[in-house]
C-alpha cells in the first residue's frame, strides 16, 4: 500500500521532477493594475507576435500572449471596471501537457510550461484543454510589412502556420540571466536579474517576477500576502501566477 501511495506521489509531482531548480513565479497586484496595456504591447514587441489586423481580430484570432480581461460590475452610473491580466499560468499540474500526442509541450526543470514550436503538429488539443484560454494558434503564416521586420527580436523565433504558441515567461531572458550567472561564477541567478518584458514595462509595478524557491525574493513575499489567490484555483491546476486581490471599499 505504501508503495502505491509513493507511486501516486511520484506521478502527481509536477512534470515528474523532485524539485524545480528555479520555480519561476509571477505575482500581479490587481490593486495596482491600471489596465493601461503597456504589458500587452511590450509582450508583442519582445516575442515577435504578429499584428493580425482588424478582420482577424474580429474573428477572435488575435495573438496576445498577455491580454487584459475587463469585467464590468453593476449598472450605469454605478459602474465598476475590473482588470484581470491573463497570461499563461505555467501550471504545475498543467491540463495542456498530457494531451499533446507528440509531447510538444512539457514541463521543464524550472517549473516552466514550455512549448516546442518545431515539434508541434497543430492538433490544438492543448488549447482546448487549457481552462485559461491563453494558448494561441497560428491560423496563417503572418508577415511583417516593411520596415517592421527590422524590429523582430533575434532571440525569439518567428512561428509558421499550424503551430501553437503561448507565453513563455520570456524564457530567452531567463536563459540569458542564467548564462550571465554562469559567466560570473555564480551558482544561481540573483533576485531581480530576470524581468520579463511585461514586468519591465509595468508603470505601476503591479507585476513582480522571481524565483519561488528563494524565500527572500520579492515574489515569495508577495505570495505570502493574504490577498494572494490563484485564478480558477478549484481546478487544481497549481498555477505559477499569483494574483493579489483588489482592495475594495465597503461602505
Amino acid at each position: 500500500m505504501a508503495k502505491i501511495t509513493d507511486k501516486i506521489k511520484e506521478y502527481t509531482r509536477p512534470g515528474y521532477y523532485e524539485k524545480f531548480d528555479y520555480h519561476w513565479t509571477m505575482s500581479i497586484d490587481l490593486d495596482r493594475c491600471t489596465g493601461c496595456g503597456a504589458c500587452v504591447v511590450a509582450c508583442q514587441a519582445e516575442n515577435n507576435l504578429p499584428i493580425v489586423g482588424e478582420k482577424r481580430f474580429k474573428e477572435r484570432r488575435e495573438m496576445k500572449w498577455l491580454r487584459i480581461e475587463r469585467y464590468w460590475e453593476g449598472e450605469y452610473p454605478n459602474l465598476k471596471l475590473k482588470f484581470l491580466p491573463m497570461l499563461c499560468q505555467q501550471c504545475d499540474q498543467a491540463p495542456c501537457e498530457t494531451p499533446c500526442p507528440v509531447a510538444a509541450t512539457y514541463h521543464n526543470q524550472d517549473g516552466l510550461n514550455t512549448q516546442i514550436y518545431n515539434r508541434c503538429i497543430g492538433t490544438r488539443t492543448c488549447a482546448v484543454y487549457c481552462p485559461y484560454e491563453v494558448r494561441y494558434f497560428n491560423w496563417f503564416t503572418y508577415t511583417w510589412d516593411e520596415p517592421l521586420e527590422q524590429q523582430l527580436n533575434p532571440d525569439v523565433t518567428v512561428r509558421e502556420k499550424g503551430v501553437m504558441e503561448k507565453c513563455t515567461f520570456c524564457v530567452q531572458r531567463i536563459r540569458m540571466a542564467k548564462d550571465k550567472a554562469k559567466d560570473d561564477n555564480r551558482r544561481r541567478v540573483k533576485d531581480g536579474e530576470v524581468t520579463p518584458a511585461c514586468v519591465q514595462s509595468c508603470a505601476s509595478e503591479a507585476m513582480q517576477f522571481g524565483d519561488l524557491n528563494d524565500p527572500n525574493s520579492k515574489v515569495s513575499k508577495m505570495t505570502k500576502n493574504k490577498r494572494a489567490y490563484h485564478v480558477l484555483e478549484e481546478l487544481n491546476t497549481k498555477p505559477s501566477v499569483v494574483y493579489l486581490q483588489k482592495v475594495e471599499k465597503h461602505d
Binding site: R56, E69, P95, A103, I121, T123, F137, W139, F140, L232
Partner: protein
Amino acid sequence: MTDTNYQEPGYADVNRDILQTLLVTGPKYWITFGISASVALICFFGPWAYQLYVGVGAAGMNRSAMWGTYLSNFIFWIGLSHSGTLLSAVLHITHSGWRKAIYRSAEAMTLFSLMTAACFVMVHVGRLWFVHWTAPIPNPMELWPNFRSPLMFDVMAVTTYLTASSIFIYMGSVPDYAAVRDASTGLRRRLYTIFSFGWRGTAKEWHTLSWAYMFFAVFVIPLAVSVHSIVSWDFALSIVPGLHQTIFAPYFVCGAIYSGTAGIVSVMFLLRKYMQLERYIREIHLDNLGKLLIVLSLIWTYINIVEVFTGWYSGTSFEYEFLKFRLFGFYAPLYWEMILFCAVVPLFMLHKKIRTSWKWMFIISILINIGMFTERFIIVATSLPRKFLPDAFGFYFPSFVEIMISIGSFAIFTTLFLIFIKWTPCVSIYEVKETLKPLRRDA
C-alpha cells in the same frame, strides 16, 4: 417470416444474381460514380488544398472554439463505422442467420467510413506534413509520441481497428473471390486468382476459414467498443464543462452503434433497390434491425438525460453557463432537432408496420443519422465556446471551406463504396447459400 411472392433462389441463381452486380456495369453506375468522384474532388480535395496553402485559418475555428466540424465529422464517421464490423461479429457469434445477406455491405461501410474519418484527422491538424510524428517511428532524435495523450491512444486504436476490420472483411470474401474467378475470364480471372489465394473449396479450407473467421469475430468486438471509448476520451479527459464526463465512453459507443445501424438500413435500402437484390435482403432483416434501433435509441435518450442532469446537479456556474448555451443558446434549434430525430422519431418503429416498411425505415434511418451528425457537431460547437473565463467566451460557425469538406466527405465515402461493389460481391455468396434449403437432386 415469409414474404408474399417470395420464391427461394437456387444455388445457381445466387451465383448469377450476385455476380451480375460485378460483371455487368450499366450507365447508371458510371453516372453515379462520375458524380460522386467529381464531388469528392471538388468539395473535399479542392478546399483542402486551399487550406493547406493558407493555413487552418481557412476554417471557421477561433480561440476558445479551437475544434470544429473537422473533429465532429471525425467522430461521426468513426461512429458510422461502428455497426458494420461489430454487428457482423456479434451476429456471427450468436449464429443469427439473417446476418448473412447484409454483413458484407455493413463491413464495407465500416472500412470506408474509417478511411473517411482518417481523412478528417489529416484535414484537422495544423501541420499535415508532420502528422507521422504521432506514430512511434524509431528516429535518430529518439523522440517518441506522448503515451499519456488521448490522441495518441486514438491513433493506435483507429489504426488497429482499420487493420483488423480490413482483414476481417477480406477473409470473409475469399470464397467469393474464388466464385468470381470461376465465372470470369481474362485479366479479371488472373486478378481474382491472386485475391482468392488459390481457393479450391476443400473441406480443410472451409474448416480453416470458419475457425479463423470466428477468431477474428471474437477479436474485433472488444476492439470496436474500445475504439469509440477512446475517441470519447479525446473529449472526456479534458476539464472542459460539457466534455469532462464519465458517461462519455458508453455514450459514444452507444451513439456509434446507433448511427451505424441506421446507416446499414439506409445502405441496405439502396443496395436492394438498385442492385436487384430483393430476394436476398428481406423484410425480416429490416424488422430485426428496427428492434435493435429502438433499444439503442432508448439507451441514447437515457444517456442524454443523464448528461443534462449531471450538469445541473454539479451546481457549478461553469456547467450552468454551458447548459444554458446548449439548451437555449444559438445552437438550441439544432439541439432540439437532434432530440426529435434521435429520441422521438425512432419510437415510431415500435409499430410493426413501420418497422417492416422499406420506405419508412429508410426515412427514419436517414433522420437518425442527421440527428447523430448534429449531435457530434453540438458536442464540439456548444462546449468549447463556454469554458471558464467569461472574457474568452466565443462563438463558432463553420466556414465555407469546412462546409464543403463536410459535404465532400460523403462523396468520398460513396466513391469508395461504389468502387467496392464492383470489386467484391456486396452480398456474401457462400453464406447466402447456407441459408437456402438443401439442393434436391430430383427437382
